[in-house]
C-alpha cells in the first residue's frame, strides 16, 4: 500500500490539476492491476462494505492512544475526519507491515465473519505496523467516505492517458453496477464485459445556468423549452428483460422506486430514458415538492404508506437508447419525437409522463412562462437546442437551465459549528433564525455562499461572541445578519419554525442591517403561503 499512500500524499500536496493528473497516470501505469482496479473503484465512490463500525474504531483508537473517549470526541471535530483523527492520535508504529492495497481490502473483508475480538486484534496490529499516511488510508478503507480531491472526470482523464483509450468511451465503461469483485481490469477497462454492459447507464448530460440574454441564443424556434422539475434526475434502463433506475450520482435506485417496475413492464428491451423522478399529486396533476420525495430517498425499501403518500412518476426528458440502438448522436428533436410516439402508445396509468414542451413563438413568451413556473411546481425552465446531440457531462451551448431567481429572506445567525475536512478549523456551518415575538426561532442551516475571507472574519467573531457551547456547536450573540436565498419552501412539522427550505445558502452578509430588521416568523409564513 506504500505506492497508494504515496499517490494520496502526492494528490494532497498539490492544488494543480496537471500535477494531480500526472501523479494518477503514473500510478495507473505502474501499480499492479488489482490495485489499479480498486483505486478506480475507490475514486468513483465504490467502497468496500464496512466490516467494522466507526464507534468501535473510535473506542479502540482511544484505548491504543491511552486517552479517554471524551478526549477522542474532542479531537474529532478539530480534525474533521475520523480516519485522520485516528491516524494522528495513535502512538508511532513499532512494526512495518508490507501489504498491497487490494491485499488489505481482502483481509478487511475476511473480517466479515470474524468476531469482535479478532477484528480488534487485526486493527490494532495494522495500526501498529503502518506509518501515518498508510494508517489514514487503512482507516479510510474501513470507514469509506473517500475524498481525495480527484473528480471522476480527472480520474478518467488519467486513465485515458495511461491506457490510450478514448476518455468518452472510458467514462461509459466506468458507469453502472460494477465492483472489483464482479469484474477485473481486463474486463472493465481494457476489454468489454457484456454482463456489466446490460445495466450500464450513459453519462448524464448536464446543463449550465443561463448567464446571457436568451435573445443571444438565436431564433426561439431552434429551441425546445420545458419546465425545470425539482426531483431526482434519473436514467431508466430496460435491457435483457431486467430494469435499472440510476440516479445522476450513479446510485442504483431501482428498489427504492417500485414505480419503475410498472414502467419497465410495458417498455421493450433496449430502451433507456433520461428523466426526473418526482413525487406526483395525481389529482392536482403537479409535483408534490421535493420535501415529499425526501423520505423516500434514504430508504432501501419503501413501506406501503409512503408509496401511497408520495407516489412517484418518471418525467421523461429524453430517449438515449431505442430498440437497442444508441441514439445520442441524433438531434434532440428526433429523439424527442420517438420518445413522444413511444409514450403515446403506453397505457395512461403507467407512471411515465412526457415533460411538456412549453409553447411559445418568441422569447418574450418564454420569459412569461418562466415567471409562472413556480405555479406549476417547477423551478424555472430548461432550454434545449433541437439540433443538438446528447452530450456527456456539463457542456455550455446546447442545454441551459434557466432557473427563477431564488426566494430570499434576511435572518440572524444564532449557532455556529466548524466545518469538516478542508474547513475543519473555520466556523462555516450556521443556524439562522427569524424574529418570533421578543425572541428568535431557528428555521434553517446554511453552509455555503461566503468567501474564505468572510468565513475567516466570522470565525474570529464567533470565538469572541460565544455565549454557550454544546459540544462542537457554539451559541453566539444574535448580531450578524445574512440574506438567505432558497429555491423552495414547504410546511414541515419536524421543524420548530414549521417550514423547511430547499437549497438554503447565504447570498450576502448584511453588515448594513441591524438585527431589529431581520424577518419575522410571520414573514416566513407569508412566504410559505405564497410559494409553498
Amino acid at each position: 500500500m506504500k505506492d497508494f499512500a504515496a499517490l494520496v500524499t502526492a494528490l494532497d500536496q498539490t492544488t494543480r490539476t496537471s500535477t494531480k493528473l500526472a501523479a494518477l497516470a503514473a500510478y495507473f501505469r505502474t501499480a499492479p492491476e488489482t490495485d489499479r482496479l480498486w483505486t478506480v473503484a475507490l475514486l468513483s465512490g465504490r467502497r468496500p462494505r464496512r466490516s467494522i463500525t466507526a464507534s468501535k474504531l473510535r473506542l479502540w483508537a482511544a484505548e491504543a492512544a491511552g486517552i479517554t473517549p471524551w478526549m477522542f470526541e474532542t479531537c474529532y471535530p478539530v480534525v474533521g475526519d475520523l480516519s485522520e483523527t485516528i491516524a494522528l492520535i495513535l502512538p508511532p508504529p513499532r512494526g512495518d507491515i508490507v501489504n498491497s492495497l487490494s491485499g488489505w481490502i481482502a483481509e478487511l473483508r475476511a473480517l466479515d465473519k470474524a468476531d469482535d475480538a479478532a477484528r480488534r486484534a487485526f486493527v490494532l496490529q495494522a495500526w501498529d505496523g503502518l506509518p501515518p499516511v498508510q494508517r489514514f488510508v487503512f482507516n479510510k478503507l474501513i470507514t469509506g467516505g473517500w475524498r481525495m480531491g480527484v473528480s471522476q472526470k480527472l480520474m478518467t482523464r488519467a486513465l485515458a492517458e495511461a491506457t490510450g483509450i478514448d476518455p468518452a468511451e472510458l467514462t461509459h465503461r466506468l458507469m453502472g453496477d460494477w465492483s472489483p469483485d464482479t469484474t477485473d481490469w481486463a474486463g472493465l477497462i481494457a476489454g468489454h464485459d457484456p454482463q456489466a454492459a446490460l445495466s450500464r447507464p450513459y453519462p448524464f448530460a448536464l446543463a449550465h445556468q443561463l448567464d446571457l440574454d436568451p435573445i443571444d441564443l438565436g431564433p426561439c424556434a431552434d429551441w425546445l423549452a420545458e419546465d425545470k422539475w425539482d426531483g431526482i434526475r434519473g436514467q431508466l434502463i430496460k435491457r435483457g428483460g431486467a430494469h435499472h433506475l440510476w440516479s445522476r450520482g450513479e446510485e442504483l435506485m431501482t428498489d427504492r422506486f417500485p414505480e419503475a417496475a410498472a414502467i419497465a413492464a410495458v417498455l421493450p428491451d433496449g430502451t433507456v430514458i433520461d428523466g426526473e423522478v418526482l413525487a406526483w399529486d395525481h389529482a392536482a396533476r403537479r409535483p408534490m415538492g421535493f420535501a415529499k420525495l425526501q423520505p423516500r430517498i434514504g430508504r432501501k425499501t419503501v413501506p406501503k404508506r409512503l408509496l401511497a403518500e408520495a407516489p412517484a412518476i418518471v418525467m421523461a426528458y429524453d430517449l438515449l437508447e431505442w430498440q437497442g440502438e444508441d441514439l445520442r448522436t441524433r438531434p434532440f428533436g428526433a429523439r424527442r419525437a420517438i420518445l413522444a410516439g413511444l409514450l403515446d402508445d403506453l397505457p395512461k396509468a403507467v407512471p411515465l409522463h412526457l415533460s411538456p414542451a412549453i409553447a411559445a413563438t418568441d422569447w418574450a413568451g418564454l420569459v412569461a412562462s418562466r415567471a409562472t413556473a413556480r405555479d406549476r411546481g417547477a423551478e424555472g425552465l430548461m432550454l434545449k437546442r433541437l439540433s443538438a446531440p446528447y452530450h456527456a457531462g456539463r457542456r455550455r451551448g446546447d442545454v441551459w437551465k434557466w432557473k427563477l431567481d431564488p426566494l430570499s429572506i434576511d435572518a440572524v445567525m444564532i449557532y455556529a459549528q466548524a466545518g469538516s475536512g478542508r474547513r475543519a478549523t473555520l466556523y462555516t456551518d450556521f443556524t439562522f433564525a427569524v424574529r418570533d415575538g421578543a425572541g428568535f426561532v431557528p428555521f434553517t442551516k446554511a453552509y455555503s455562499g461566503l468567501s474564505d475571507a468572510e468565513f475567516r472574519e466570522i470565525t474570529a467573531w464567533v470565538r469572541k461572541n460565544t455565549t454557550e457551547r454544546f459540544g462542537p456547536v457554539r451559541a453566539v450573540r444574535p448580531e450578524l445578519v445574512f440574506e438567505i436565498a432558497f429555491e423552495g419552501i414547504q410546511a414541515s412539522p419536524r421543524h420548530k419554525s414549521g417550514v423547511a427550505l430547499r437549497f438554503p445558502r447565504m447570498v450576502r452578509w448584511r453588515r448594513d442591517k441591524p438585527v431589529a430588521e431581520v424577518a419575522s416568523l410571520d414573514d416566513l409564513k407569508a412566504v410559505l403561503a405564497s410559494f409553498g
Binding site: 500536496q13 471524551w70 480534525v79 494522528l88 492520535i89 469538516s420 478542508r422 474547513r423 478549523t425 470565525t459
Partner: protein, 337 residues
C-alpha cells in the same frame, strides 16, 4: 496566591509586577519578543539578555532591565528568575518565589532542542502556568532531522523543475530555525525584508545563520531562479510573490499537522514545524515541574485542563484577552504556530 489573574494579565502582588501584560502597566516581565507577549506602552521592562535586542528592535526606546538565565532578582517580597523555554532565542519561563512558594509561568515553550534556541529546562515548582496551544493528542511533531530532510528534498525537486521555493515562517524564531535546517549546498537562500531585519538583530547578538541574500527592489532575481526564499506567511498570498516567477510554496507551522488546514491554506506543501510543545512535550514538561497545581492558557484550555484533572493535577484555566484557539493563523501575526 503568588500570582493572580487580572484584567491586564498575570500579576504578582508581592512584587507589584505583571508578566506579559496585554494592557499598559507600570512594570512588566516579558517572556519573549513575540508581539502578543511583548507589547508597547509599559513603564519598565524586565527580560532576558538574549531577548533584549529583539525587544529594543521592535519596541524602540524602552526602559529595559535584563537578567541572565538563572540570575535571581529580588523585587519586593518576590524572587524573580528567568529560565530557558526553548521557544525562540532568548525566550524564558519566569520563576516567582514568595516565602518559599514557587510559581512558574511558562510563556510559550517547546521541549525539543531546535539547535537555535536555548534548550528548555524544567523548573521545579508548586504551581505551573502552562501554555497549551497544541494541547490535544492529535499533535505530535516529527523529529527535526526528518523535517530538515523533507524541506531540502522539496527544495531540490522545485529547483530541478526550474522553479523557486518559497517557505512561509514567522520572522522571529521559526525563520531562523529553518535557515539552519536548509542545506546551503542546494542553492542561494533569499530573505524577505521582515526576516532580513530579524536576522540582522540575531546575528548581532552572535547567533550563527547561513549566508542569506536580502530581497530588495534592486535585486536581479533572474539569476536566483531555483533559490529558497524565506518569507513571513502573510507574504505567500500577496503580490510580493509575483516577482519570483514560477514558485512552489510551503508553510512551516504546527497547524500543518491537519490535512484540512494544509489544504485550506492553499500552499503546495505544509511542514509540521512548531515552536510550541506538542502533546507529549506538554505532558512531559508539566510532569517534570513536579507541580500539583497547573493553570493552562492559550489554546485548547478546557479539554486540556480536564485531561490534567484526570491525571491527578489540580487544574485551572487562565482566561486571556486573546481567544484561546488562535487556530486560524492571523495573517502575518507573530503568534502561535
Amino acid at each position: 496566591m503568588v500570582l493572580e489573574f487580572r484584567q491586564a494579565g498575570i500579576y504578582c502582588p508581592a512584587a507589584d509586577v505583571y508578566i506579559d501584560p496585554w494592557r499598559p502597566v507600570e512594570r512588566a516581565l516579558i517572556t519573549h519578543g513575540h508581539a502578543d507577549h511583548a507589547r508597547a506602552g509599559h513603564g519598565r521592562y524586565l527580560a532576558t539578555t538574549g531577548a533584549a535586542p529583539v525587544l529594543c528592535h521592535r519596541l524602540g526606546e524602552i526602559g529595559l532591565q535584563t537578567l541572565r538565565y538563572g540570575e535571581v532578582l529580588r523585587i519586593g517580597e518576590a524572587e524573580i528568575s528567568f529560565h530557558p523555554a526553548g521557544h525562540v532565542p532568548g525566550s524564558a519561563q519566569i520563576r516567582v518565589a514568595v516565602r518559599g512558594e514557587v510559581w512558574v509561568v511558562s510563556g510559550d515553550y517547546k521541549t525539543v532542542d531546535d539547535g537555535l534556541s536555548e534548550a528548555f529546562e524544567p523548573v521545579p515548582c508548586h504551581a505551573f502556568i502552562s501554555e497549551c496551544t497544541f494541547g490535544l493528542p492529535i499533535y505530535h511533531w516529527p523529529d527535526q532531522a526528518s523535517l530538515a530532510a523533507e524541506i531540502n528534498r522539496w527544495w531540490a525537486e522545485v529547483r530541478a523543475k526550474g522553479q523557486t521555493a518559497v517557505i512561509g515562517a514567522y520572522a522571529l524564531g521559526k525563520a531562523q530555525r529553518i535557515l539552519r535546517m536548509l542545506d546551503p549546498g542546494l542553492g542561494p537562500i533569499l530573505t524577505h525584508g521582515a526576516i532580513t531585519a530579524t536576522n540582522d538583530v540575531l546575528r548581532g547578538q552572535g547567533i550563527a545563520l547561513p549566508e542569506t541574500i536580502a530581497v530588495t527592489a534592486g535585486l536581479d532575481l533572474k539569476s536566483y531562479r531555483g533559490a529558497m526564499v524565506v518569507a513571513p506567511p502573510s507574504a505567500l498570498g500577496s503580490a510580493w510573490l509575483r516577482r519570483f516567477g514560477p514558485v512552489s510554496t510551503g508553510i512551516a507551522s504546527g497547524w500543518m499537522q491537519l490535512r484540512g488546514v494544509r489544504r485550506r491554506r492553499g500552499a503546495d506543501r505544509g511542514f509540521v514545524i512548531s515552536d510550541h510543545a506538542d502533546w507529549v512535550g506538554l505532558n512531559a514538561a508539566i510532569a517534570a515541574t513536579g507541580a500539583e497545581r497547573v493553570f493552562v492558557t492559550h489554546g485548547y484550555t478546557a479539554p486540556f485542563a480536564r485531561w490534567l484533572e484526570e491525571c491527578g493535577y489540580q487544574a485551572g484555566i487562565v482566561q486571556t484577552a486573546f481567544d484561546g484557539e488562535s487556530l486560524d493563523m492571523g495573517e502575518g501575526a507573530e503568534v502561535a504556530g
